[in-house]
Amino acid sequence: MRNITFVGLLTIAAAVVFAAMLWVHNGYVFFAGYVVLQYIVLATAWNILGGYTGYVNFGVAAFFACGAYSTVALDKIWAPPLIVLILVGGVVSGIIGLGTGYLTLRLRGTFFGIATLALAVVAQTLITNWSFVGGSRGAYIIRPEHAPFLPLDYIQYLCLWMLILSVASLATARAIEHSRLGVGFATIRDDELAAEASGVPTLRLKLIATVLSGAFMGMAGAPLPYYVTYLDPSSGFSLSYAVNTIAMPLIGGTSSWLGPLIGAVLLGTLQQVATVTISSALSLLIVGLMLVGFVVVAPNGIIGWFAPVTRTRMRRLRGSR
């Protein structure tokens, strides 16, 4: 399927989802839906670096919260339209991704993971000591009542933007997968030395991955202050963002754009249901239990169950040429 066709189908699916949410006519659907969609963007963004190139990023909260705090800072100066805030959040976190890449991409495996975790701690310390954005006290953001130009509540408007970001991130991930860039990413994941020897510019590709991944995480974080209306460093940099974001692609499968989508919808929805029916503290327990369960029964994620079937079918098709 061509990329343009895929984007068209994804847009139609997103429109149907949004129409269904409006049809349900329940405010909570948008509150919960926003979180699930936010995790689709985060999980897809994480997978661009972690799944495609094999570099595990534990510093999700840093990229996400920097996007959110860029909104807080801009809101204090000028309060621009949401699209500008999202773009600025993406640029800020993309630049952080570039810096992180330059500083850490010569590290491999666990060492890279620890370096990204340290990045989150450094960023949180900086924000905690930056009084302009509220410092350790946190910052209040006044959420407008209604969306500009559209007959929607602001929460519905935020949800719409998160849906657009989900489409954008999924389309980007799939386009990468089916491109020369995706082949290059896969070689880095499989064997970096052999990749270089095959002509793959590994450092440049890793920087592209960190920038893209960071930018989408920043964009996912940018609308957050309007969603929560109060943001402090401990909630913005919460470890749960990293845990959820890593767990979702692992549960869904990291080899394809579909994995993070399945993982985010499954885990995000379960967490939202558990939050309202049992307890909010239970949501992280669910993540832990599911992660352990999937590591045992589906080490390649949910799409891993179907991959052998797909691969055999593909080979049969190729063999019949």
Binding site: V183, T187, D190, A197, G199, L203
Partner: protein, 244 residues
């Protein structure tokens, strides 16, 4: 007047802490030549290959290939210039099929020089797999291959980058007599197609059958360079291999 060598190594040295891995290595390889590079374990053969290919940086001296100075150049840039290597231990891209493994150098090394269509790429992959006898396994994963097939894949992937110089790093290690002959025939065929080859090997039967010139390294130093039959009779070469 002789042509400029394809590969020219002058005064290359490399240390690992206090250990001298390579000291003042001089070597020139002409276009189309078949050079055997031998030496006991730890003599610096793989370190020299790594310095030529950009995996390691030489601390002294310089490497010139096809008229380009390679010092400071990254490994992938050297591959794009036409310098390919196979690894001592095969390093296939494990999640990719054999055809996909070969597509990588075509996409990243060859297409940078001269653009190919997807059909060209498929045809080239098929040609390479047919050449090494793996066409029937084109859509299998490397884990399904035997040891010799893995070595052949390694050579085919190196050839996919359309190199002018191929460095084969112990492609015959651990293979049976017949399998060694298979790889030897393959390397000779590649040389007939115009590819200059440096073969690093421990199997002297294969080295002598293959090489037009033999270079011997011992403890990071070049101790012999010349006609293979003459080199293997040299007293210091015999001593390095058999002891005094």
């Amino acid at each position: 007047m002789t042509d400029a060598p394809l590969l020219e190594i002058t005064g290359v040295g490399k240390r690992f802490g206090g250990f001298i891995a390579l000291a003042d290595i001089e070597l020139a390889v002409q276009q189309g030549e078949r050079v055997g590079l031998v030496g006991p374990n730890g003599s610096g053969k793989s370190t020299l290959v790594n310095c030529i290919c950009g995996t390691l940086r030489n601390e002294t001296g310089s490497v010139r290939f096809g008229g380009h100075w390679l010092d400071g150049m990254k490994a992938h840039e050297r591959t794009r210039l036409g310098l390919a290597r196979s690894f001592q231990l095969p390093r296939p891209f494990a999640t990719m099929t054999l055809a996909e493994n070969l597509r990588v150098p075509i996409l990243y090394a060859v297409n940078v020089r001269n653009g190919h269509t997807m059909t060209d790429i498929e045809t080239r992959c098929d040609e390479l797999l047919r050449m090494v006898g793996l066409l029937d396994k084109a859509h299998r994963l490397p884990r399904d291959l035997t040891q010799i097939e893995m070595r052949k894949l390694e050579l085919a992937r190196a050839m996919a980058s359309e190199p002018r110089l191929l460095i084969s790093d112990e492609a015959m290690a651990g293979l049976s007599h017949g399998e060694v002959d298979d790889i030897l025939a393959l390397l000779l065929k590649l040389n007939e197609q115009g590819v200059t080859i440096i073969m690093i090997e421990h199997i002297m039967r294969a080295v002598l059958a293959f090489s037009q010139r033999l270079v011997v390294l011992v403890a990071g130093r070049k101790i012999a360079d010349g006609d293979p039959q003459a080199v293997v009779r040299q007293s210091d070469v015999v001593e390095a291999y058999l002891g005094s």
